[in-house]
């Protein structure tokens, strides 16, 4: 495959799309699939055939349309118009096909003008819900691989890195390390072999950003990886994806295979001297393998435990070679930055956090689903406008950053979403989990949930994390059982300090965050459990507490 052949695919795709009057895009990402969107798709296909529309109308599976709470979702595209339907069942299919080219089916229609859609800014998700994730031609048809073409044909590796640096892109895996700096470090590292690794071991409870990208637009991630490999001089790549994502794995396998078939992966990519192979590696269910040194050990076939850094993987990673590790979402930002330029990208967002960020919005909101918003948007806008608090309920706190993050209360909702602001509030940006809680959630119970998670996911290598987090969990149980004293609380805080400062890797170092942030904002709830032996939210089963609250 060379550049001309790539252009030819673009032309062909354009032509075949223009020959269609309508396209019915059925979401076949995990959320809608679980709501039986495959059945809906099958009936739609049958209906289209029966109506004799086979030549003018195509039914296709597409990636995530975002509003997972109202799935299955369907987008009908015809000419300039795009109609979105929600909660579609197989019985609705004839009606939808019947309405093609006429007035849309009002009772199912979901206006795209609602804040859930209008407040978003989609860069990574631009193709999600528009292209078939299992056909590379469609990705190429909407401009895919033109960024790779541009990089290989018009830019030197250093120029690629410069654009990434100028864009201000930071690691979307959670820590927010400047991507350009990381790339430049790996490119300067000396080694006869270099690797590029995509971290798709997404494991935060409630987070599904990476899963959605991989299942909806896998080629974008692969293109980002190829560009990265070109920039840093790597010739081998790995995608480390957790085995619990069978759909993402299936689509990734298809995507890699198709890219290889077109010569976009393998030897002499696009007719240049640059070569790259990408292999999949499946995680076996350990959260800690998302930590980069543990991930490296796991790919090497060893027990997935972290090791002290330095040396950093950029210098000594896979098989002691320089290794670039970025998260799925980070790689997915790359093609757009190359096409539009780093400066264009840097115009979006705040002073230190650029571009957009995806969040998996979950918990006590009306619109749960996957969103992509510009950095700097207020938490309040996300929660009240995009999410929406159900009637009769009162917002209490939002948990960001998963088990490494913290709970942010009402009074700080006007905080702009960026790495520094969230850290200042005692939480973190994290990979993008966002769980909204209302008055029915007990804050101590929430902290206990996350600590329990960290406890069962600790690898056990270092003592503070292995034993310290277990002791923290036991103390929290004591509090929620109504058996704790104020001395226990003091001990808990002391443990938070030692675990945070002495643990080996990020898992242990950030494990106390859910406790520390809730203690900062909701200390009274802890004290109510300890001194009054009562759970204000009525969640914890403290003997005698029902009498008190009655």
């Amino acid at each position: 495959m060379n550049s001309e052949e790539l252009d030819k695919i673009v032309e062909e795709e354009k032509r075949s799309r223009q020959s269609l009057e309508h396209e019915i895009c059925v979401c076949v990402a995990a959320g809608c699939l679980s709501a039986h969107s495959e059945d809906v798709k099958a009936v739609l296909e049958k209906e289209v055939k029966q109506h004799g529309l086979g030549h003018q109308c195509k039914v296709k599976g597409v990636g995530c349309l975002g509003l997972c709470a109202s799935g299955p979702l369907i987008a009908v595209e015809g000419g300039e118009k795009r109609t979105l339907y929600c909660n579609v069942t197989a019985q609705d299919a004839p009606e939808i096909v019947g309405a093609l080219g006429k007035e849309p089916v009002k009772r199912l229609q979901l206006p795209e003008s609602i804040p859930f859609f209008s407040r978003q800014r989609k860069l990574v998700l631009e193709n999600c819900g528009r292209i078939d994730p299992e056909r590379i031609e469609e990705y190429i048809g909407v401009g895919g691989y033109s960024a790779l073409q541009k990089s290989l044909n018009e830019m030197r590796p250093t120029e690629v890195i410069e654009q990434i640096t100028r864009s201000g892109l930071r690691g979307r895996g959670g820590a927010g390390y400047p991507t350009g700096l990381k790339w430049s470090t790996v490119s300067k590292a000396v080694g006869s072999r270099k690797f590029v690794v995509c971290n798709a071991d997404e494991g935060d409870p409630g987070a599904f950003m990476d899963r959605t990208i991989l299942a909806s637009d896998p080629q974008k991630v692969i293109e980002g990886m190829i560009i990265a490999a070109y920039a840093v001089g790597a010739s081998e790549g790995f995608i480390y994806v957790r085995a619990e994502y069978p759909l993402a794995i299936k689509r990734l396998k298809t995507a890699i295979h198709q890219a290889e078939r077109l010569g976009l992966l393998g030897k002499n990519i696009l007719g240049t001297t640059f070569s790259l192979s990408i292999e999949l590696r499946l995680g076996a269910g350990a959260f800690v393998c998302g930590e980069e040194t543990a991930l490296i050990a796991s790919i090497e076939g060893k027990r997935g435990t972290p090791r002290p850094r330095p040396p950093y993987p950029a210098e000594s990673g896979l098989w002691k070679s320089p290794t670039l590790i970025n998260n799925v979402e980070t790689f997915a930002h790359v093609p757009k930055i190359i096409l539009e330029g780093g400066d264009w990208y840097a115009r979006l967002g705040t002073a230190k956090s650029k571009g957009t960020k995806m969040f998996a919005l979950a918990g006590r909101v009306k619109n749960t689903g996957l969103i992509e918003v510009p950095m700097g948007i207020n938490l309040r806008e996300i929660i009240y406008e995009i999410g929406g608090i159900p009637e009769g309920h009162r917002f209490k706190a939002v948990q960001t950053g998963g088990p490494s993050g913290g709970c942010i209360p009402e009074q700080h909702l006007n905080t702009p979403v960026d790495y520094e602001s969230l850290t200042k509030l005692g939480s973190i940006m994290g990979s993008g989990g966002m769980v909204v809680m209302d008055e029915t959630s007990c804050i101590v119970d929430v902290a206990k949930f996350f600590i329990e998670f960290c406890m069962s996911e600790s690898c056990g290598k270092c003592i503070p994390c292995r034993v310290g987090v277990t002791q923290m969990h036991d103390l929290l149980c004591k509090i929620t059982d109504g058996a704790a004293t104020m001395d226990d609380l003091a001990l808990l805080e002391e443990l938070c300090d030692v675990v945070r400062n002495t643990s080996l890797c990020g898992l242990g170092q950030t494990a106390p965050n859910p406790i520390l942030s809730t203690l900062q904002y909701f200390r009274d709830e802890y004290i109510a459990h300890i001194e009054k032996k009562a759970c204000p939210a009525g969640i914890c089963k403290i003997s005698g507490s029902e009498k008190e609250s009655a």
């Binding site: 090791r307 056990g460 290598k461 003592i463 034993v467 002791q471 443990l495």
Partner: protein, 255 residues
Amino acid sequence: MSRRHMQNLWFREGERVSMSVHIVTFAINGRDVSARESETVLDVARQNDIFIPTLCQVEGLSSVGACRLCLVEVKGRPRLFPACVLQVEEGMEVQTESERLSKYRRMIVELLFSERNHICAVCVSNGHCDLQDLAQKLGVTHVRYAYRNPSMPIDASHKQFALDHNRCVLCTRCIRVCDEIEGAHVWDMMARGIKSRIIADLDEAWGSSETCTNCGKCVQVCPTGALFERGKSVTEMTKRRQFLTYLTMMKEVPR
């Protein structure tokens, strides 16, 4: 003669000293020290008789930085670093003692005591135990955390040795010595977190292990009474680790 002295002798006599060895100067606790670039802060501290507590580290085996007892402060860096894997750098200022470090070290030892059943009075290693020594040296007089009192098995299937999980601190010395020195890799770690446990082969009884060479190196490097020779009673299990020093030295001798 200590390992260090032997090594220095070799380097003094030999013309085979590599010309690419860089020497750096830095400070530990305000005292200027010199070191080869390849050395760790712990190496240099020991050469200069500066005590840094360690547990998982043994000279002669690879360092894993797991026990976190050797954490030190480095001026200008907010994080703490394990001295056993911290490479020396020109001009760095290391602090091995501070109120904060002592507190953390004491707490880590306390956590270890709370984790399993470390009852010195009935232990074969009483009086010759690294964990006990550390507790005494660091002034751990109480354990404020609840003892977890887990129910742990004892593997006494081996004809010469036994493994008592109750005393194990998961330092992985046995795993490393068996893998790196003996080359048998009998031992490994199973499960994760608080459920982690040392296993022989694929979680088999030690006595029926086909890979074990009965060399006993694991027993000798074990810091506590977790691995011991059968027939030893309370306080009788002293460990002999000289072989490691000797083997390591032989490995390092330029040929």
